[in-house]
Symmetry: C2
């Protein structure tokens, strides 16, 4: 279905992600900025952009801005989301040092599956809701939540294990 799209190298994912972030932060992505972000030379960016263009992930006219196609944007935001959720997991859940977590998220973002991403997202949602509603018998409740999509309050009378 997606051709090369789901076989993209980490580096290419990094390029997409960088373009995505620059666009969000500054409105546009230019070759020079991408290069600066990734600490490579402009010529390297150029090769990458050509590659991504050939695969329908970016739009780029000579000397112009680099923009993501719909598909490119989908992939980029997916990578970014994986990064973010894992960063959250590392810092909020495992309570790791944010600086280390940030670095680590950069490698893990390329390694985790969509499904893991989705589960982590649900986990956080579950925790947030759980804390609002009452005590989180976290694992049990999360399991139920995953299975049924619903949450169950913690019955006071039970052993509350």
């Amino acid at each position: 279905m997606h051709g090369i799209t789901d076989n993209l190298s980490s580096k290419m994912e990094d390029y997409l992600e960088t373009i995505f972030i620059l666009k969000k932060e500054t409105g546009v992505a230019r070759v020079g900025e991408i290069a600066k972000s990734l600490k490579v030379k402009s010529s390297s960016v150029n090769s990458a952009v050509n590659f991504l263009k050939e695969h329908g992930l970016v739009i780029h006219e000579k000397y112009g801005y680099v923009r993501l196609t719909k598909e490119g944007d989908r992939i980029a935001s997916e990578v970014k989301s994986k990064h973010d959720i894992f960063f959250r997991f590392l810092t909020e859940f495992l309570m790791l040092d944010p600086k280390k977590a940030e670095k680590e998220a950069c490698s893990i973002e390329h390694a985790i599956s969509k499904e893991t991403f989705q589960r982590l997202t649900k986990l956080f949602k579950f925790l947030e809701d759980g804390f609002k509603e009452g005590k989180p018998r976290i694992l049990e409740k999360f399991e139920i939540y995953l299975k049924t999509g619903k949450r169950k309050k913690c019955e006071r009378e039970k052993s509350c294990r």
Copy 2:
């Protein structure tokens, strides 16, 4: 301190891990078995083994068994432990399909830090202990546990949030 040791490529880590596992399962690791495990040719294993030997991670005499040095064993078991803990996390915590989890653990094992590994290990220990003792106000308790190394019972009277 460790030279190349902490800059080992994923592939080299895979070789070490495979040797580690074969040794545990069958008593010895032979070139052919490593090749079969990793689905590469023996000659590829040979190059890898030479590389690892040069870096003091394996011991290998021509036509003999491949054995891990102390350092090689340390790294291998570290990788394997990362694999295992992440597999547990994916299956027990996020409740992912074991087959997918197994595959995913294979990539993540190379990407997670020692510290993340340690925290995950503690998380599981914490959960196990928590379930024995009483209810796990998981996040709060885990945070205390990480900070102090001790666990705190869930007070019934409090809102039990």
